[in-house]
Symmetry: C2
Subunit: 119 residues, 2 copies
């Protein structure tokens, strides 16, 4: 599962320098929408800051008053958007943040003169 291609190839050119195409905008909007939800923002933050930069559902449920399946649903949305990736080891799937995606998102939000962060 860790090698799956989420189908999102983000352009990391700043969106502030020249108008995005409709297709570029749709790709970006999809990822911004995935993290545009309070539980999912917290999940990304929890996973990234967890020991070793990875966490399983068992590490995450304690932070929320939400059921395991609800947490798993949010993790699936993040995974499908390419924000996180998961790897099954034994009973659990361990999730980690896809740095390339977050770097690309970060870069497109900067003005051209700040220079793009290469993802």
């Amino acid at each position: 599962m860790s090698n799956q291609d989420p189908g999102v190839e983000l352009c990391s050119s700043p969106m502030l320098r020249e108008p995005l195409s409709a297709e570029q905008a749709a790709d970006l909007a999809r990822v911004f929408k995935a993290i545009g939800e309070p539980v999912r923002v917290r999940l990304v933050s929890l996973i990234a800051s967890h020991a070793g930069g990875e966490a399983c559902v068992c590490d995450l449920t304690g932070a929320f008053e939400l059921s395991g399946p609800t947490i798993s649903h949010h993790l699936k949305v993040l995974r499908e958007a390419g924000v996180i990736e998961g790897e099954r080891r034994g009973t659990w799937i361990y999730y980690r943040v896809r740095s390339a995606t977050l770097h690309a998102l970060s870069s497109v939000l900067l003005p051209a003169e700040s220079g793009a962060v290469t993802a």
Copy 2:
């Protein structure tokens, strides 16, 4: 209108270093959600890359097959999230991107070792 406070004070500490509080996550999710829509991503890009870094609805409608009121609705969502600000001059309201908001968003997406971009 350009001086209005959109009520969003984003923390620019990387969300990847330590777990966000529920409140920080809600503030961030609100802004990500605002730009998590294809038309609104394109609007931000069009405004920022327009001559002088500002644009009125009259400059924007040509890029979409959408009515003026629909464009205005999307601009309102972006304004309320603090992504853009508007200033009335004569007949039109001229919108520009709020760089501080986009810098803060960009910073929180970077890992701690990349250093935060100060907004």
